[in-house]
Symmetry: none
Subunit: 165 residues, 2 copies
């Protein structure tokens, strides 16, 4: 089975910026790091810029590598490639869990998404997100409203089965 990021949880951020990554997510990060071995700590990547400025997004090494590989296929110096690299490479950073399963969010990262002393982790399948709790709630509410306003044939749940073949 390939594990995916599932669930949401709230964690304290201490004075040094340290936060526990949910235990369930650690298993996914371990599986997604080709260099991980029992006894060590997995690496992964946090993307902080780009399309969404309101949360951080965590990717396993293997899933970000897929993206990196696709980008490398684009012609060097092309506008598309530069743009993607700016969003995916420049505005991101390698991270490593410590032995107790924590990471440290630098001042810059915390500031970027308005985090003070608590953070919400939300599983999103191939990636996870880190939110300031209030912003997260707003995001959920907004999503709810926009979902309710969809017409029948815009409903993504229904579109899902049409993809199937």
């Amino acid at each position: 089975m390939i594990r995916r990021f599932r669930g949401e949880s709230l964690h304290k951020v201490d004075a040094k910026g340290r936060v526990s990554v949910p235990a369930a997510f650690r298993r996914v990060l371990e599986e997604g790091d080709p260099d991980f071995s029992r006894g060590s700590s997995p690496n992964f990547v946090i993307v902080y810029g780009g399309v969404r400025g309101d949360c951080l997004e965590g990717y396993t090494i293997s899933s970000i590598s897929k993206v990196d590989k696709l980008i490398s296929k684009l012609p060097r110096f092309s506008k598309d490639r530069e743009m993607l690299e700016r969003f995916i490479n420049t505005q991101s950073t390698y991270m490593q869990l410590d032995e107790t399963g924590r990471i440290v969010l630098s001042y810059r990262l915390k500031e970027k998404i308005g985090i003070r002393d608590e953070a919400i982790f939300a599983g999103m399948g191939e990636k996870f997100q880190i939110w300031e709790p209030k912003n997260y709630q707003n995001e959920l509410n907004a999503l709810d409203t926009s979902f309710k306003n969809l017409s029948e044939d815009e409903n993504p749940f229904l579109k899902l089965d049409q993809l199937q073949d």
Copy 2:
């Protein structure tokens, strides 16, 4: 895992032109220098001419070799090859980190991109860039605007998924 240049950071440039290269980038430079050994300092290449006159671009030895190889495939004496060699080979220079992880930017290099006493390092996957901070901000803003003005089918993120297969 093959590390890539990720993240961005601001560094002071002192009177002698010395700047710290971000610690994370040093690891990539070390990995990318076939002659590197523990205890020594990695070599790499800075390209200052060519396509973009507004920033410097740093390549690991192994990634500049890839580019060199591509250029060698072009017909000798062709205009294209001549041009690329001028930009990539002529307008570039070998560099070596010192023991504290710094390089020195000569007056010429600083002048080229308008740097005075601060420099931004930006990871771009297989290479990194060095910018004068204000110019960098302008670059980011311009990128943002042009991204927002893209039509659906011009969105490089969406194109990425089409490459897949």
